[in-house]
Symmetry: C2
DNA sequence: CTGATTTGTGTCGGATACACACAATTTTTT
DNA sequence: AAAAAATTGTGTGTATCCGACACAAATCAG
């Protein structure tokens, strides 16, 4: 191939995926135990090199499909990580992707085949390269954006109860929320549709199952603006 | 150099800068008329290839310094643009950087030497490659983030009046704001310090000059949360 | 000095946020 | 069967905030 930028250096480009899930109690991160060099045996994010004729986002989706068997994952680009020596083997620029999945939907076999594990964010092992930095950034991103946009639903099953939703938010922000105010606020957005069913798993009073109004979800992507109070130290 | 990823493809990496300024009336964008191939004679963002031993952010700052002579520019990474054919000459991944500068501070000679021009956002020429897309994204980013964080000050001189600040916000959001509510809100953040001086340029009542409290700017980076009303179609 | 323009400050009514109380449903216990 | 325990659903009041709006002060042109 004839190139017209002959004197410039070309470098490797990879994508790494920060994949969050929620098990009903706490936030989980999907990471792999590497059975390949370099850093074999250590923990890292799932990632891979970008192919020659592959768009960035397509590369991320390929990697996500490989690991989870899922195609319709919520993905956002977090940003490029480009420190010269971030990969000690050879300079590699990595574009990090932020992903939210329903933890019960993924292909467990594929996950096993990649030696992948869901780990709690609170006691996750140290990761290779700058992957810890990426996870920190992704968690900040989640907290920041879940307060402004209704992206939290991506972590829940199709049908869910308001108490389940509240537990998700309490996990994300590591804080307790008032049940009554939470319910009122969430219902006032108009994003939830009563399915008419009730949660049969509960051992006490069965909560109503809701689903997300997908059409409103598009129109009201800003519905959570100012949703979580005092994330912002607006006062004092 | 011996590499351990022998079978992967390496690609060119560039950075492009979306540089905003404010002239007191409207938002401006700094772009260059290319006097080099490819696309010579057309308009584009200022950019360049990443050097072999240069960090990403350092590359962006180098390019910004080249063009403006400024070192302390407010810069954020916007994200990576990686479409396979975005540069028709050879595949190039570009990391876009968002920059805000005080339009009166830059080195006019350096700008001239690069055939650069400040253009109004409302009638900017078409740019090469995917640079128009980058500008659109940068403008969205500015609107989104200036509503949440006090970054607008980066576009103003050290000392400014509240009416000047209001004009800036009106330019960013292309809407009129109530003078009295704006003043009350802005002062209630505690970010502004009265310098004791007045704007001698005015031909009518001279407004008080304020400066930003830099220490509080750090502590209260969230002070503008919910600052611009109804950016969010929260209702209906 | 009068009028035009711009800047600074105040007020009022409606809406919203958050703290908190009570009623209803389901299973377990006695 | 009745009471207790756990969880879910709905209501109420007060303090605060938001946005609409009125008036006073400063500056200059004429």
């Amino acid at each position: 191939m004839m190139t017209r930028y002959p004197h410039e250096t070309r470098i490797l480009v990879a994508t790494d995926c920060i994949i969050f899930g929620f098990n009903g109690e706490e936030l989980k991160l999907l990471i792999i135990k590497r059975n390949f060099e370099p850093e074999e045996g250590k923990w890292s994010l799932m990632g891979g090199f970008l192919h020659e004729n592959e768009d960035l986002e397509a590369g991320a989706k390929r990697i996500l499909y490989d690991l989870t068997g899922l195609n319709n994952i919520y993905v956002e680009q977090l940003g490029a990580f480009g420190k010269v020596h971030r990969d000690p083997v050879e300079r590699t620029l990595s574009v990090a992707f932020f992903a939210l999945i329903n933890i019960h939907n993924h292909d467990q076999e594929a996950v096993k085949a990649h030696y992948a594990n869901w780990v709690s964010l609170k006691n996750k092992p140290e990761l290779i390269f700058d992957h810890d930095e990426m996870v920190t950034m992704a968690l900040d991103h989640l907290r920041y954006n879940a307060a402004l946009h209704p992206i939290g639903f991506e972590l829940l099953p199709e049908e869910f109860t308001i108490p389940q939703l509240q537990k998700l938010y309490e996990a994300i922000y590591d804080m307790r929320l008032d049940r009554r105010n939470f319910s009122r606020k969430i219902l006032s957005t108009g994003l939830l549709v009563d399915t008419g069913w009730k949660n049969e798993h509960s051992t006490t009073k069965k909560a109503v199952l809701y689903r997300l109004d997908k059409e409103k979800y598009q129109r009201k992507f800003y519905a959570f603006w100012n949703f979580i109070p005092n994330i912002n130290p607006n006062h004092a």
